[in-house]
């Protein structure tokens, strides 16, 4: 079986982001970029499924500018077999990303698509669900455990009240939650090897899908700052403040 893993290049999770003064967006010039953490988990899961023999080929795909090829090389170093770079300098929204992925699914015919549950920049948490709807196939979102048995997949999902287990036929789309696995680090020999793995670039226009944005971002502003309060010296002082000043306990 072939697996398609969709990944995204985002501002590194350990970078403290800065809102531009003119409120036009986030400062991304000269900011460290990395693979979205949930996408790393997606790549890792694909590699583990291949190591277990449930998967033969892993195709990593991303959409974006030329720099996104670095992120694809990371996926190749982690164990993906080949990569597809859908090139565009424009912002593509989740709906457009899902349409591009659907076009690639039609070409590649994977048995499974794995992606992160959300990217840590736009925090939308929707592309995987949208792709599943477009493929008219089952979805398992926020998964913490995946088992493949022939053409059926069992997934444990993290839901608000606990865990839920679903069984579905393939093809399917799954989105990863944090506890699915702990991604490995790419070894130096694998990073070298990744440079020779195939990486195809397709201009986005060649896929024939409409990715015109539907949203206008009117402004991006700083959230209301919360200022530090006071330090109390003892439990007695704390409880006194909570009872008589904040009035939040009795």
């Amino acid at each position: 079986m072939k697996v398609l893993v969709a990944i995204k290049r985002v501002v590194d999770p350990y970078v403290k982001i800065r809102v531009k003064d003119d409120e036009s967006g986030i400062e991304t010039a000269n900011v460290k970029m990395s693979m979205n953490p949930f996408c790393e988990i997606a790549v890792e899961e694909a590699v583990r499924l291949k190591e277990k023999g449930a998967v033969e080929e892993i195709v990593a795909v991303t959409i974006g500018s030329a720099q996104c090829q670095e992120t694809l090389r990371t996926a190749l170093a982690l164990g993906a077999d080949r990569a597809i770079h859908v090139e565009t300098d424009a912002t593509v929204e989740s709906l457009g990303v899902a349409k591009v992925l659907k076009a690639l699914v039609d070409e590649e015919q994977p048995g499974l698509v794995i992606m992160g549950k959300q990217s840590i920049d736009t925090d939308n948490n929707q592309t995987g669900q949208m792709l599943a709807a477009m493929m008219d196939c089952p979805q398992a979102t926020f998964v913490s455990e995946v088992t493949i048995d022939g053409d059926s997949l069992t997934a444990v999902r993290e839901i608000d009240g606990g865990l839920e287990t679903l069984k579905m036929s393939l093809p399917a789309v799954i989105t990863t939650d944090l506890r699915l696995n702990e991604p490995r680090f790419a070894s130096l020999p694998n990073i070298m090897k990744a440079k020779r793995k195939p990486l195809d670039t397709k201009p986005i226009a060649d896929l024939g899908v409409d990715v015109t944005p539907r949203h206008e971002i009117l402004s991006v502003s700083k959230p209301a700052e919360r200022s530090a309060g006071i330090k109390v010296e003892s439990v007695d002082e704390l409880l006194d403040k909570l009872r008589n000043e904040a009035k939040v306990i009795e």
Binding site: Q126, A132, P138, Q139, R157, I159, L166, S169, R214, G229
Partner: protein, 308 residues
């Protein structure tokens, strides 16, 4: 202009988050209908009809909807969604699972996790784990929206809407529900509690959470945890407060042994009063706390319990 709110429920009870989704719907338009898609879920439809602000409840009852799978619920909602300009659900794991599927079928770009309604087309939503707020205008004819529960106040139960029934669309099961393991607790639900007490890596192990439980029992509080405490295996994942866990905004949030990573702050910084207890006085959690106590939690927690 009219809004359809997707009810979240377990076929017996309407989830508290649905009242907040209804409140978000009322902030968008004057006419708010609710769709209850379930199996043996008449009680839920009746409850939804009594929620303040609801005009009409559309009840779709079918065995295929028993386990609320995304595929079945999305199809059911779409079968009654034709005349609405806005389709709203709470940004819970249920809403996040179902709503984008509906958006894709309607060929619209969802507006996720809104925290404010500016007008019928324009909304505010947090991005970058709440470190920035985007004001977004949607140019789609139909707006599919998930609403962050903590941003919209429950409006009460003074409604008396009519309940109408609709047939479920023909459905071929795409996925099968195998089972669930839900956390049983007498305590209030984390996102609905007025007091939350959370433990971090500083708790040392899962057994020590008993100290938080004793205080929670006295305060009627829910128990939460940082991602570090969850990753260390102290408590289950559904305790997690933060960017990738639950977003809470109680009257009182008590952070114990939590350093205050950005991703945790994203989940609790809208709480009304924040208390931080940590032995490291440099911990970033103190930068957002109204009351900070620099102390060893193992001596302080029993003292708090005894003095409540």
């Amino acid at each position: 202009m009219s809004t359809l709110v997707i009810a979240e429920h377990n076929n017996a009870e309407l989830n508290a988050a649905s009242y907040r989704a209804i409140a978000a719907g009322c902030a968008i338009s004057d006419s708010v209908d609710v769709v209850v898609a379930g199996s043996g879920s008449q009680a839920v439809a009746d409850t939804a009809a009594s929620a303040t602000g609801v005009n009409k409840v559309i009840h779709i009852d079918d065995a295929a909807l028993a386990h609320q799978t995304a595929e079945a619920v999305a199809d059911a909602v779409l079968s009654v969604a034709e005349s609405y300009t806005h389709i709203v659900s709470a940004a819970t794991t249920f809403g996040k699972n179902v709503s984008p599927r509906i958006a894709a079928k309607l060929d619209v770009m969802q507006i996720s996790d809104i925290t404010a309604v500016i007008d019928a087309d324009t909304f505010e939503r947090p991005i970058y784990a709440g470190n920035a707020i985007a004001k977004v205008k949607s140019n789609d004819a139909i707006k599919v929206i998930t609403a962050r529960s903590t941003a919209f106040d429950v409006m009460g139960e003074s409604g008396s809407a009519e309940v109408t029934s609709a047939d479920a669309p023909a459905y071929t099961a795409k996925s099968e529900f195998v089972g669930s393991e839900l956390t049983e607790s007498e305590r209030p639900e984390l996102t609905a509690a007025s007091v939350v007490i959370s433990g971090g890596r500083g708790m040392g192990n899962g057994e020590n959470f008993v100290m938080l439980e004793r205080i929670a029992d006295k305060l009627g509080a829910a128990i939460g945890a940082s991602r570090a405490a969850v990753d260390a295996g102290f408590v289950p994942n559904d305790y997690q407060v933060g960017q990738t866990g639950k977003i809470v905004a109680p009257e009182l949030y008590i952070a114990v042994g939590i350093s205050g990573a950005i991703q945790h702050l994203a989940g609790m910084k809208d709480s009304k009063v924040i208390v931080a207890i940590n032995k490291d006085e440099e911990a970033p959690i103190f930068e957002v706390a109204d009351y900070g106590l620099v102390a060893d939690l193992f001596s302080v927690l029993p003292e708090i319990e005894s003095k409540l």
